[in-house]
């Protein structure tokens, strides 16, 4: 990490930042690069205030996956070599706050909104994602949605009219089109011979937050904020498992599917006529570059996108948001006491244009109210189209044991899907295991 050494002449301060899961030349590069622009602005502002200061950015875009990144951060914080700012998922707040690696930005939403105008601009519900123990521990940088994509060409072949197709997102939003309908439609397509067997519906091929969307879609709860405990709801869990078994038994999803490489996966959904598939909004940008021969135009032509359908008729669809946030590291973790300056830098990084620059390039959705009107953001058709999903989103809980909760649920889901256990057995197994691992920290409903 960098260091804040002082020399003769103008005060010289280095502010360091690590952004995880962001290759330096990838679409997420501005998670780190924004620091440079932010510090230039901040330096100018401070000079105007009469403080002769040179701010130096030491921004590292760490390409490593989240797991490795978090391990490395934890160890460097223990060694007192952590950066001033760490950019990571909001789910890390509970952990890192508890272990003392990060400092709170403010004690309440009101307080944080009062600190800097940029913070006041943050869409208010997003503050929830960085709240833990009553305090605000970070500043959201971006967020995303994980829509259900559908292949318009195939639907049309199946006899859907353009109007019907265009109405599908709205139907999902209102709960008219549910997960059961999804299975039925896909089966239809296969029966008609329009859709190849096993190409009716594809979920992601590896572990990821998307899967909790089904649990939530069946009414499952993850977290009880009042008691600060995790929750597992048996019935929604059973339905969730059942759904993932059914997609295989009905033949709309291939057997032996988990573990398919991402390369194959992306190529298949874009080029090989899969009817429904789940993916993050950020995938859109990648498809346009890597998979679709005709670029984004082809994508618009072929695919539609909607919320993840609900499992319960009449309930709206859902989507998971997993905001990436800025956190200021503690003195213990950095051996420096410049946290105020650091938070001010975070504020500058939250400037509308900077956030939009990042959002547009990386196909993430907005977290600032002002962004929604930003011409650049509006120009990004796809992003504007999915902005509404922010209203139907939920966050993963800021609970230190959420990782374990997720692992158990996901692993059991995989074995149910493979037919190793029935959905009912899966529920029993998962519950038993959660209780064993987490004890009091989980409530069974």
């Amino acid at each position: 990490g960098g260091s804040g050494e002082k020399e003769a002449g103008p005060e010289r301060v280095t502010i360091s930042l690590w952004a995880g899961n962001a290759p330096p030349d990838g679409p997420d590069r501005y998670r780190a690069l924004n620091l440079i622009t932010a510090l230039e602005r901040m330096q100018a502002e401070m000079r105007q205030e009469g403080r002769e200061i040179t701010l130096v950015a030491d921004a590292v875009s760490d390409p490593a996956g989240w797991t490795e990144f978090k391990r490395r951060f934890a160890l460097s914080a223990e060694a007192g070599e952590a950066p001033d700012i760490v950019v990571s998922g909001h789910t890390d707040v509970a952990l890192w706050a508890q272990s003392g690696y990060i400092v709170p930005v403010a004690n309440s939403v009101a307080e944080v909104q009062a600190m800097y105008p940029q913070f006041a601009d943050v869409i208010e519900p997003f503050w929830d994602s960085v709240t833990w123990n009553g305090k605000i521990w970070g500043v959201p940088q971006d967020t995303e949605a994980r829509p259900m994509y559908f292949n318009k060409v195939l639907l049309k072949e199946m006899g859907w009219s353009d109007a019907e197709i265009d109405a599908l997102p709205q139907q999902i939003r209102s709960g008219e089109f549910t997960l059961d309908d999804l299975i039925k439609t896909a089966q239809d397509g296969i029966d008609q011979g329009v859709v190849k067997p096993g190409y009716g519906y594809w979920h992601r091929p590896s572990a990821g937050g998307d899967f909790t969307q089904f649990y939530v879609a069946y009414g499952g709860e993850i977290y009880d904020a009042e008691s600060d405990r995790l929750v597992i709801s048996r019935e929604p869990l059973r339905k969730f498992f059942d759904f993932h078994r059914r997609v295989v038994t009905t033949g709309i999803t291939p057997e032996n599917f988990i573990g398919t490489s991402w390369d194959v996966w992306h190529d298949t959904v874009v080029n090989h006529d899969v009817l429904f598939f789940n993916a993050g909004v950020w995938s859109w940008a990648g498809w346009a570059v890597n998979n679709a021969a005709g670029g984004e135009a082809e994508l618009f032509e072929k695919f539609g996108y909607a919320l993840q359908p609900s499992g319960i008729p009449g309930e709206p669809g859902v989507t998971l948001s997993h905001p990436v946030i800025y956190m200021a590291c503690s003195e213990r973790a950095t051996r420096r006491s410049n946290q105020d300056l650091v938070i001010r830098a975070i504020a500058h990084m939250t400037d509308t244009d900077l956030n939009t620059r990042h959002a547009v390039i990386s196909a993430h959705t907005a977290i600032l109210n002002s962004q929604l009107d930003d011409p650049d953001y509006l120009a990004a058709e796809f992003l504007s189209d999915v902005s509404y999903m922010a209203d139907y989103n939920y966050f993963a809980p800021n609970h230190p044991s959420y990782g374990q909760w997720f692992d158990v649920v996901y692993r059991t889901m995989v074995s149910v899907q493979a037919g190793e256990v029935t959905p009912e057995q899966g529920v029993d197994e998962a519950v038993q295991r959660l209780q064993h691992e987490l004890g009091d920290a989980v409530v069974v409903r």
Binding site: G1, P23, A64, S76, A79, E81, S283, N290
Partner: protein
């Protein structure tokens, strides 16, 4: 008779071709993949491209990381060869109490998975980092503490040490005793005997350990990644990690190219060591002792 000889010569080749087929096929795929936009099975799709290789050639960071990697691999190889040749010598050829115990212990330590020792090793490296000069003040390798190349080298050496000691001991065992006796009588100290007479006799062993440790160092990931903080001073494998982690769509063409780029030096090293180290010496001895 001729066909019979031909038969005996071709059967082993055919056999090894068959058992190596998955590798040959797989790497052929990787190779072709670096030049194609996409591939279905062994079939390139979307045409030929030099983009992946150009990316590598043009990326200055990659070359710099290659340099760091070379330091790590070389440091590890030299270190492990010296230390394990030194340790194996008395274990094979001197009498002292605790000889067998030392041998068994060194192997048994290998039973501890490196991953879970990382946390404990972190405590150690953090402590070393605090020692002046040794911790942080050495050129090229940085030092031996946390967040230095030297520290990473030492940790890697320790993980390979059971291998080194045991392997070299086996090779020392096979050297003739009279040879060592002759050297002692000619006026060598035990150290010199070791260095000048015995070491040349165990060149196949040195080649084996050298190849192995160089490969290990060249592709080491978890240790440099965990104990080095800045990717700019880190090694190639972390660069590769850069291209492949997360749930982004991975550009496998580029990844394959980088992987091949990373393989080249090791293959060259391998060819070199084959030629110079695996030629063994014969003659000059009779008898079985």
């Amino acid at each position: 008779m001729r066909p019979k000889i031909l038969f005996f010569k071709s059967v082993p080749i055919a056999l090894i071709l068959v058992i190596s087929a998955p590798i040959l096929l797989g790497y052929l795929w990787v190779f072709v993949r670096t030049f194609s936009v996409n591939m279905y099975g062994m079939r390139p799709i979307g045409g030929f491209t030099m983009r992946n290789w150009m990316t590598i050639v043009r990326d200055p960071l990659l070359w710099r990381l290659a340099g760091n990697t070379l330091i790590l691999a070389t440091g590890l190889t030299v270190g492990i060869l010296l230390i394990s040749c030194a340790a194996a010598y008395p274990l094979a050829r001197m009498t002292f109490r605790g000889r067998k115990a030392y041998l068994s212990l060194s192997l048994v330590l290998h039973a501890f998975p490196s991953v879970t020792l990382l946390i404990a090793i972190f405590f150690v490296l953090r402590f070393i980092a605090g020692i002046p000069v040794i911790g942080r003040g050495i050129p090229i390798i940085g030092g031996f503490g946390y967040n230095t190349l030297g520290g990473v080298i030492l940790v890697s050496i320790s993980f390979l040490l059971p291998l080194g000691i045991w392997l070299m001991k086996g090779f020392f065992d096979n050297v003739s005793w009279d040879l060592e006796r002759a050297a002692l009588i000619d006026g060598c100290s035990r150290f010199r005997t070791w260095w000048q007479i015995l070491i040349p006799q165990i060149r196949p062993g040195i080649a084996a350990l050298g190849i192995f440790s160089f490969m290990h160092g060249w592709s080491a990931f978890i240790i440099p990644y965990t104990f080095m903080l800045d990717d700019r001073t880190s090694v190639m494998s972390t660069y590769l990690n850069l291209l492949t982690s997360g749930d982004r769509a991975i550009d496998y063409g580029l990844v394959s190219a980088v992987a091949l780029f990373q393989l080249l030096p090791i293959l060259m090293f391998y060819i070199f060591t084959q030629k110079y180290l695996l030629t063994i010496f014969g003659g000059g001895m009779k008898g079985g002792g």
